[in-house]
Symmetry: C2
């Protein structure tokens, strides 16, 4: 039997606990796959951790300094000291597994340049889509393809909230509270609900797909706080479900990157992706569309991805091959052209809140028309008692330029018969 592969686990939270559990529980199967035993030799956390046979320290430098440790598992989250842990582990000649989307998306160039320089590997399956092997699927399983488009439901918290709103017909605020009670939203949920988490994951997938660092700031990002119970209601009436979609499309004018609430047709595979589940669809020139679906959050699902990375790395450590070839293709000098969001095109769902008086629809449609926003259908609800606060008018547009639509809505919203800012969500074809 070959030499035991030793791991140093830095950050012992819910995912770290899952990693320890899987490695202990599936010990023999893992050993068989790797061709050598795999064990966690040291754990670092600010709070004391008692795991039998595992050294504990508060100082991550002690773990990285150990010669007998082959692979560092970074599960701290956040930017620092996570970034320093990864970089100093690589400098010390270790391979790295991380679940940290924020640090990867933000320091892609620094991390993968260091990995290449040191001939070491950074694996990061758990950073996107929890248990779903989408990083590997894109990086290896679809390696033969030129990627045309990536889109996905990439955040469990927002999907949980939108599912709750859809199924129970409740407000965003009530659904957020339910998600917090169930442990699917944090006390400060802004990173999730503002779409930033999704933007980080989209940046990672895009950097991988197009072999060039796509930055989070390149992603036009909107969250779900603007989704009202009535939007969920009207969407359903029209045959749609609202989901927060991260999307990257290679257009002739450049790469279009957005995170935004979208109306998904009820027959689309994304429509049945509920609660903490995630789904990612990737279109390759040869493969056509491939979709991956599974649990995007939770201790064991995320740990499943981390341990699968550990197994891949440990096999390479055991056979002495780790880092001979870089894991990902990354060209630091390749600059992708990013399409400005004003030039992005799409069909839209618009909800106007207008006084129930004659001529309103004609004025609204006139302004839209002048901006080349062509109307596909109009849905106007019966006038309600609260008509002084405005009644909803729903318009679905044909394919329009986002810049034109924004200009039109700005003009429309200035009119006194409009009683609340107009809501606009993209409709997925």
């Amino acid at each position: 039997m070959k030499k035991t592969v030793k791991l140093g686990l830095i950050g012992y939270g819910t995912v770290g606990g899952g990693v320890i559990k899987i490695i202990a529980g599936n010990k023999r199967a893992i050993e068989q796959r790797v061709g050598a035993p795999v064990e966690v030799a040291a754990v670092c956390d600010l709070n004391p951790v008692a795991v039998t046979g595992v050294d504990y320290t508060r100082d991550y430098r002690e773990v990285i300094a150990r010669d007998d440790i082959d692979i560092i598992i970074e599960l701290i989250g956040g930017y620092e000291p996570a970034r320093t842990v990864i970089l100093s582990a690589l400098r010390a000649g270790k391979n790295v597994v991380t679940a940290n989307k924020a640090v990867l998306a933000t320091y892609w160039d620094e991390i993968f340049s260091a990995a290449r320089a040191k001939e070491r590997l950074v694996y990061f399956e758990a950073s996107v889509g929890g248990a779903i092997p989408v990083i590997q699927g894109l990086n290896e399983g679809m390696a033969a393809n030129r990627i045309a488009k990536i889109s996905g439901i990439l955040n469990g918290t927002t999907n949980y909230i939108l599912t709750e709103m859809t199924q129970k017909n409740v407000s965003f605020a009530a659904a957020l509270k339910a998600a917090q009670r169930s442990g699917f939203a944090e006390a400060d949920p802004s990173f999730d609900i503002d779409g930033v988490d999704t933007a980080n994951k989209l940046a990672i997938l895009s950097s991988l797909a197009w072999s060039s660092w796509v930055k989070v700031s390149d992603v036009s990002t909107a969250g779900i706080a603007s989704v009202a119970a009535q939007d969920v209601f009207f969407a359903r009436k029209l045959g749609y479900v609202i989901k927060l979609i991260g999307s990257a499309t290679m257009e002739s004018g450049g790469l279009e990157l957005s995170v935004q609430p979208c109306l998904i047709p009820e027959r689309h595979p994304f429509a049945t992706v509920e609660r903490e589940y995630n789904a990612v669809s990737i279109r390759g020139d040869a493969s056509g569309e491939i979709m991956f679906y599974g649990k995007g959050a939770g201790s064991l699902p995320a740990a499943s991805a981390v341990v699968s990375d550990i197994i891949s790395l440990a096999r390479q450590v055991t056979s002495g091959t780790a880092g001979k070839e870089p894991y990902i293709t990354y060209n630091s000098s390749k600059k992708l052209k990013i399409l400005p969001s004003a030039k992005a095109q799409g069909s839209y769902y618009l909800r106007f809140t207008a006084l129930d008086q004659s001529g309103v629809l004609s004025k609204v449609s006139g302004i839209l028309g002048k901006h080349n926003v062509s109307i596909a259908s109009v849905y106007q609800q019966e006038s309600l008692s609260g008509a002084r606060k405005g009644v909803p008018i729903i318009i679905l547009t044909h394919r329009v330029r986002q810049g034109n639509l924004r200009a039109a809505l700005q003009l429309i919203d200035r009119h006194p018969f409009i009683k609340a800012p107009t809501v606009a969500f993209k409709v997925k074809a």
Copy 2:
């Protein structure tokens, strides 16, 4: 730049053509991923093939004998000479890519024992699910997991036919003809429609998941020829879609393996998998359920999987690491216990064709009851003019033992008031 990785392509049909096309079209991207140029050096086929810069031969032994060729791509299909090509390529020290499910499922032990003995690799992503990277996802992306269950829509031809029947309300025979016209069914479609192709793919996935050779003969297999237009109609009325499902479940009594038409709830992700698309769902103990979806057939989708395998192998050839560790975990001495199909459990859709006379339902339900088949609901259509040929009675059962159900149906079908063999399809929970 490192030495060119050279390929020998044996069998130049639709998939082979796709492989040549992708390697030529995405040449630079592939070279970047591999770290060396990749080229097809020789093609073998019974019919002459003219590709610029590629040697042609009718004799596969010439290709295998070439020292400059690193990887053999077996795309002949069928059992022989495909098996001999793979085994002699391994013996000659080549790595192998194959899309051949029949040869893999049938000679799993022989092929992977030879690969291990020769320290060479056999990759086979295209053998299951066309472009979908499910082999890799199961073998590597879910490596941390104990697999509890695999189920999937694994055959494009039958799914095309069932989609046609569902969407156009036509008979099996008419839908088969439409599939043949569109190139999605062969002139002799029995390998597909009898479920044998699905059983082969299920055997491959199961052998991989449980590290032991699962044979095609272990799979209880039924095809789709028994699905009538009225079954599609009644299923829809009850909120289901009929799909041919291959399923492997690790039960306490052993591994349950079946291929059979199943009723899928309309909200289940499989329900929206249409035409030549495939989907595979795999449940791991840590990951939970993960689903993969994409094109299961076609020249470029299959070639996408083949070329992705070529890239993975070529990277290992280039870095001199190919075969240091086996690709899959296979334990030739491990014997899995297979659950006899009579002991398998499930809920069922039953369609009786009975004379429209009083007492029939009471007799049928009496026999079912005596065999512990408990009825969940009954759906009886209004009596039609053709009542002498029998009218359909639909019964959905609670969870029953398949052996009990079979015994009950055998008794029931002997009664003179039953005018046609009773149809029984499993209902997916």
